[in-house]
Subunit: 471 residues, 2 copies
């Protein structure tokens, strides 16, 4: 629980990350290979993410559903690209009770096939559209390597699946949900994002195109933090999802899907954390404030606690028998946004001390001030400051490169997002991989190429692409 | 969507049930054998159940966690009774990606083994206790027969798993969570319950004892609606979960587990529903009020909508192009507790009509009345009335029987809960099964035997047992 358990970011960022995950008790390795346990502190962050994101989904008309975890192999195989994209990662159920199954069942790696199968039965006419459904569940992808929150064989996520009567509407939905993800990252996680379109190579298997939000960790490594896919009629044709349109003609529906995962917790750790541990953005912090009394001050501690609680601030009192110093350190490791210290001697002078987790700044206030108002404002300020610092850090690490040598220099010094022109050929895209495994993050559709020349082949380039090393 | 789709309860209760499930769009069969789809209307009820129950859990100190869905076979096998209890129902994952797994993995049928494995690493001393964890997830049991909400191969549930330093504390927890389930059923589902202890034959595999809440459907069939298990040190010994107690001695922890499932939605349907469809208890109804305007009244409709919304009443306007009659029927099928009809002619006379779903009673109010207050009170009244009617119905169907012939007569006429003495022998318990499959529901620990004589063997009986046919 103590700070000295945590490796510094400068010494070893990867070790720092796992130290924070363990010290803040967010997740624990399990004896199930490739799977982690989400502990109370980690799961509570996910609950807050769920609650707030779910509200954003519902505000734009989505409903939640729950579809089976099993997908019969024959159903999964109907869409060729999806299958070839996911086949190497699927876990198979082959026995139920004492009998061998006639057809093996996939543990859902994603649910396009099941939603199509469902829509096929429910959608008859344009009046049944749009279907705007979302599902919170766990999915399995048989990964080789595990890193808590970033990559594990089973993880929690939400997957939206929608069906529409027109291509235009479905494309608008694809963009809308990307915007929701962006808003969620900025407003709740205090994380700035880069948005764009995935290249053909990096898009979701089976999608016509994939939009993405990309975030930058403090070590300059990129994280794909949410994707929104437009399917056109591809899946509808594979799964035969037809409807009568307004002209009374049979047509296939137009579909989208979009998803975010517990990996966002990893982003929160690596965007905001410091050498003392976790730093939680106030709006998703399960506990926003901790009160620590020193000496005979329990009356005041309780009074402050009640005042904050009445004002819907998530607060707790650390009245354990640990020393104040230990309590301070623990609150820091756990990333509690505001620590209130009420000391006997300070109180005699009418002083209460507030300590910000993000800056560790101490703020002395008079006991007669409106503490709920002060704390509320402070939480807002902390959020804004965290976002602005993260934004500045990200912007300082967005580079422009005109040659592969420049790309290489950037990556070897201070990696980050690298803008470079691209001709559109996959062979040129792949060439970047040789430089420390760089991949394209997204095509920046609203920006013009730097020079209009591909740094790899020297040919004409009409696209500007963001490149980077990814988790 | 229309009433005439629904079979009457008197004609065929089982058909009525599936008709309601389909007409109210709660669940849909999927093409995955044995699994159903929870549709928006059904899943929204589960969300409300979750939200309210989760608050009750947290109010008594529980935290949520998420443990892997996979259980290695060797881990599952450590507790012999648990394995033999669940083995016939386990689904096995044998392949991951392209390779055959060295050890096959169970899809969790329940998570005692994983929680033990987790606690083993986390609990060192009495200071680490109690561990009060809960998990919301899906579980799989390879059932032969499927009935939406009541029985399916995959279902959603919550499973609480706690570890304590003393037997007393763990036993108190077992009782506390049963009380929470009882409170939840009464206060949110408006369903009265019978509580008691399962017989040795009916208890959870591996438990020292199992407490249960049992509910009665309108057709006199019983439903086990929630169970709470005391494990003593049985699992701790199997999984080696030790801690240093206050006397600095190594001891095994004392454990409990407790669970409820989406089956509660089935109970809501069968306790409250009528021949027109679903009747939802107001406190878990996703939509509590529907407003239907007739004629040129949109201004008033919007005004009422906004007033109710501001007062945190869950309300929607049905402004579709269907006829008022169709809208009324649809709101009835879906079980919306209160329907507000605003008609042009009524409005000219300053009248708005409220219709209760449970009694179908019409209440005319003056437009100048405080409508939010009226609706709030009406929702409370509906809840209370629904509970009282269900309670009266249940009490009218609690019988006493002194001979097996009496038991048989009751079951063949109007089945329900039957109280009869029991000597404690399993062979006598099994004898009931020959009468239309009757099983013991629970031992009524706070009640004295009727005569002190077992109706089966005629020997001394010191227990009073509740018997019934179960889903």
């Amino acid at each position: 629980m103590k700070n000295n358990k945590i490796t510094s970011r400068a010494d070893n960022f990867a070790k720092w990350y796992t130290d924070v995950v363990k010290s803040a008790q967010l997740a624990e390795y399990s004896s199930v290979k490739g799977c982690v346990i989400l502990e109370p502190n980690g799961y509570a962050i996910w609950e807050n993410m769920q609650k707030n994101m779910d509200k954003l989904f519902k505000d734009c008309g989505h409903s939640n559903v729950y579809l089976p975890v099993f997908i019969p192999e024959s159903l999964l195989q109907k869409e060729g690209e999806l299958v070839s994209g996911f086949a190497p990662e699927v876990a198979w159920i082959t026995r139920g009770g004492s009998s061998v199954l006639e057809e093996r069942l996939a543990f859902r790696p994603t649910s396009e096939s099941l939603f199509c199968d469902y829509y096929k039965n429910k959608v008859k006419s344009y009046r049944d559209l749009p279907k705007l459904y979302n599902q919170w569940c766990s999915v399995v992808r048989w990964e080789k390597e595990t890193r808590p929150f970033l990559r594990s064989r089973e993880f929690l996520w939400q997957e939206g699946h929608t069906a529409h009567a027109t291509a235009k509407e479905a494309q608008e939905e694809t963009q809308r949900m990307l915007d929701v993800y962006k808003e969620f990252h900025e407003r709740f996680l205090a994380i700035p994002v880069i948005t764009g379109r995935k290249t053909e190579k990096e898009k979701f298997a089976g999608a016509e195109y994939t939009l993405t939000i990309e975030t930058l960790m403090q070590n300059g490594i990129c994280l794909q933090s949410g994707t929104s896919h437009y399917f056109g009629q591809k899946f509808a044709k594979a799964y035969d999802v037809k409807f009568l349109n307004e002209k009374n003609e049979l047509d296939y529906v137009y579909q989208t899907s979009w998803g975010t995962t517990t990996r966002m917790i990893g982003a929160v750790i690596m965007v905001h954390g410091d050498d003392a541990g976790l730093v939680l953005p106030p709006r998703i912090a399960p506990k926003q404030v901790v009160i620590i009394g020193i000496g005979n001050v329990s009356e005041k501690v309780n009074e402050v606690y009640n005042t904050l609680k009445e004002n819907n601030i998530s607060v707790y009192i650390d009245d354990s028998d640990k020393t104040p110093g230990f309590k301070f350190a623990e609150a820091e490791v756990n990333g509690i946004p505001v620590r209130i210290e009420i000391g006997e001697r300070d109180l005699a002078k009418n002083i209460i001390t507030l300590v910000r987790r993000d800056t560790r700044e101490k703020i002395e206030i008079n006991v007669n001030e409106n503490i709920a108002e002060v704390v509320e404002k402070l939480l807002e300020t902390i959020h804004d400051d965290m976002f602005n610092r993260a934004k500045e850090r990200m912007e300082n690490r967005i580079y422009e490169a005109r040659t592969l040598e420049e790309v290489n220099n950037i990556i070897e010094n201070t990696p980050g997002f690298i803008k470079a022109d691209w001709c559109g050929k996959e062979e040129c895209e792949l060439k970047y991989k040789e430089i420390h495994g760089i991949k394209s993050r997204c095509i920046l559709e609203n920006e013009k190429p730097l020079e209009g020349v591909c740094p790899v082949c020297g040919e004409k380039a009409d696209k500007l692409v963001m490149w980077g090393i990814q988790y």
